[in-house]
Amino acid sequence: MEGSNPLKSKIYTVSELNLEIRKNLESNYLDIWLEGEVSNFYFHDKKHMYFDLKDENSKIRVVMFHNNNKNLLFNIEEGLHILINGYVSVYEKRGEYQVVALDARPVGKGSLILAFEQLKEKLEKKGYFDRIHKKNIPILPNKIGIATSIGGAVIRDIISVLNRRFKNFHLIIRDVNVQGITSSDEICEAIDDLCQYGVDVIILARGGGSLEDLWAFNTEKLAEKIFDCPVPLISAVGHETDYTIADFVADKRAATPSVAGEIVILNKTEAVENLKETSKKIKNLIKSKIAILKKEFNFLTSRRILIKPETILNKFNQAAGELHIKLIENMERLIRTRGKILSDYRQLIYEKNIFKRIYIYKMAIKNIDIRIISDIKNYLTLKKSRLKIILENLQEKNPVAILERGFAIIYREKEDKNIKSIDEVKINQKVRIMLRDGILNARILKKIYKKLEIGFKNEN
């Protein structure tokens, strides 16, 4: 490589080279405009912004310090196409370079529009515009608070509308700048003051203007203030076609300041008229109610019962008497007819000789009774006499009775069996002889066979 001889060339230290590069770059790129797409966006502690700007082929590191980004209206975000103004800065220690951005603006649309869109989207996501948060505007506020410029035409428009609608309105004006850097903060403060003082409704009013003119009503701070405001709030900013963030967050948007005057309080004349109408209506209602009742009362009081009650009573009395007579008549007739039926039966009974028949049957039954009794008596007598015979017979056969008559019974010595024949004993056998009054122990001396004859005679 020609001319590339280390002996002939200057040899840099790293520091020397970096220093030289820094001097070159920083003096050549002192004030540049750079356009590109944001990527790798990093918002460190919400202070310093670090991101790359890139095109199809290349990218470069960018830093935007807090001091420079704090007044940006829109948010730098991923993918946004922006144009920045700044300079190139080299960090010698690392041999790195980056662009320091002093200002940034969106490409394709204005910063304000972009900022408006971004804030609107953000607040919408947070639910700031939701119907649920909208408070009702009172129809008859005692005190109306308004934050506007006291020197403007707007306040006069509103007052003239109020005068038309409600002569004795009470308006509390809080004078604010409705344009300029401090405007938004002033309006926020005015809302606080009006709330603290105590009003029933607050109007934020401003005449028409450019997006920039109306910018005070498009800040996040004011949006939050309106959202947190405990008092119902009407925004009345610009013309009908102008929309601000305040319009979206407010409880009610008035297309123009004059309209706010109409919304904020009812029309007194109309209200009084309506009240009169209502009073008349309820009076008429009660009147007709009473009229109806009166008519009913008259109708009732015109009836005879209420005028001459005794005539009605007489009538009832008479009717009662008639009924009484009729009742007795009916009873008598009833008794008569029933009585006849009874006597008819009686006749029938006589005719059929029923009593006589009963007597005959009775007598017959009596005869039968007598016969049965005598039969039983005869039977019993018969049985009795037979019994007597049996008893007498039995008496005769009673062994004790026999002993009584002088007979004896002979038993064996050791058995209670009597001896009936001489064959049953032997000579010298001991026997027992039972007499009327005791027992004799005896011995058989002799046996003599002899047939006994009736009319037994003593042999000895």
């Binding site: 129809i139 003239s160 004006i173 209506k281 009660i286």
Partner: protein, 80 residues
């Protein structure tokens, strides 16, 4: 709630209710007399409220010691 303590809105709403109730033919005379009386009271309460406001225009500012103060303004005259 006592009628005197009712807001204008509440009174108006109640009044509308009463008109509806009175239009009902079935309510008793006693009841309708009560409603009627209340209706008249509500109506006059509303009228009272309509005239209650003071009818003035004031400016709210902070005094040097930071207190909220009001002073009457005469923008109306300027306007005419």
């Amino acid at each position: 709630m006592k009628i005197e303590k009712m807001s204008f809105e509440e009174s108006i709403t109640k009044l509308e209710e009463i008109v509806k109730e009175l239009e009902d033919e079935n309510i008793s005379l006693e009841e309708s007399m009560e409603k009627f009386e209340m209706g008249i009271k509500l109506s006059s309460n509303c009228l009272k409220k309509l005239n209650e406001a003071e009818g003035k225009i004031e400016e709210l500012t902070r005094s040097e010691d930071g207190k909220l103060v009001t002073r009457e303004l005469d923008l109306e005259k300027e306007n005419k």
